[in-house]
């Protein structure tokens, strides 16, 4: 804890960030937040922000209580990044965007998102794609990309990009979403949106607000209109990348 006055937080100066195509003005408590979102800081063009988030020590303390296992051993600076993510994700559905837990890669200007429960191997599989494709593959985000649904689905990078901080401040059309699972042999099949839906719903940020959750579910329905879905059983062998790449990038 930084010990600042709860009612008069020691706020840093406001940062204008570009996140998921929106101008987000964030006033953090901890100065370290600037470094956390350094690739997303927007040039000052005098535009009014779409979203404004002012953090207080109370927000950080509340987030600490909500974070699994986060009550001890984590700095305020880190907990504040989670709290800002929550505040932003809570309001994003009103701007037609939602957060989905996953690892997103762009290849030849199109986005491919791998999603699954933590520990399944999303980041590992995305790394196999990068190793196989070299410069053709650009990491969009390795943990918490945002998805927008205006005029086809778009996957956006975000500052919340996982423990290896892999990702960029880019946006690409989302072509396919792949649900990963562990299997002895590598295999992939195309699945319907209805088959993918339960996994998608488990991997989104679920807002506290019923209205925002309903909006998020509506956005997922819209996303399913333009995105193809796959289920990959993989054994964490680099060869699994060839299996998923050939199927997911197929045209038609």
């Amino acid at each position: 804890m930084n010990g600042c006055d709860q009612e008069n937080p020691r706020a840093s100066s406001a940062l204008d960030c570009s996140v998921a195509g929106l101008l987000v003005r964030i006033t953090p408590v901890n100065e370290g937040f600037r470094d956390f979102c350094r690739d997303f800081i927007a040039g000052g063009d005098g535009r009014e922000p779409d979203i404004e988030i002012v953090m207080t020590q109370r927000d950080i303390d509340a987030e600490r209580l909500r974070s699994p296992g986060g009550q001890t051993g984590y700095s305020d600076r880190y907990i504040e990044t989670l709290a800002v993510c929550r505040r932003l994700s809570e309001i994003m559905p009103s701007f037609g965007r939602f957060l989905m837990h996953g690892s997103a890669v762009a290849v030849d200007g199109k986005g491919y998102l791998f999603t699954a429960p933590s520990g399944t191997g999303k980041s590992t599989h995305a790394r196999f794609w990068r190793e196989m494709l070299g410069d053709r593959a650009v990491m969009v985000n390795d943990d918490k990309p945002f998805i927008g649904t205006g005029g086809g689905a778009t996957v956006y990078g975000s500052p919340w990009r996982g423990k290896h901080r892999l990702g960029s401040n880019i946006a690409v059309p989302l072509k396919a979403v792949c649900v990963l699972g562990r299997a002895a042999e590598n295999s992939i099949e195309e699945i319907t949106a209805a088959e993918a839906l339960p996994t998608l719903v488990r991997q989104i940020y679920r807002p506290d607000s019923p209205a925002m959750l309903a909006a998020t579910l509506g956005l997922i329905d819209r996303m399913t209109e333009s995105v193809r879905f796959y289920r990959l059983g993989c054994n964490l062998d680099p060869g699994s990348a060839r299996v998923s790449y050939e199927m997911m990038t197929k045209e038609g």
Partner: protein, 86 residues
């Protein structure tokens, strides 16, 4: 009784899902069969167990006592996850 405001009923492609908000005490996902879907549909507005049974009997052909048992079972499961405001 009524569906808790901390749960959103979502229907897509013939599937009924009950999705908890981030502040609900339950973090799973409930996927419904036809019966559960119909029970959840009734719970969108204030209702009683008797009225739900009546509504389902009007909709489904079932052996004597089966609807009552299914509705009671569904309501018990929903109560367990805090999805019903009494």
């Amino acid at each position: 009784m009524k569906l808790s405001k901390n749960f959103i009923l979502h229907e897509a492609d013939g599937q009924t899902m009950l999705v908890p908000t981030g502040s609900a005490g339950f973090s799973g996902l409930v996927k419904g069969n036809k019966t559960l879907g119909a029970v959840l549909g009734c719970l969108k507005s204030e209702t009683t167990e008797e009225d739900i049974v009546k509504a389902l009997k009007a909709r489904f052909d079932a052996p004597e006592g089966a609807v009552e048992r299914d509705v009671a079972k569904a309501l018990e499961a929903l109560r367990k996850i805090g999805a019903i405001d009494e």
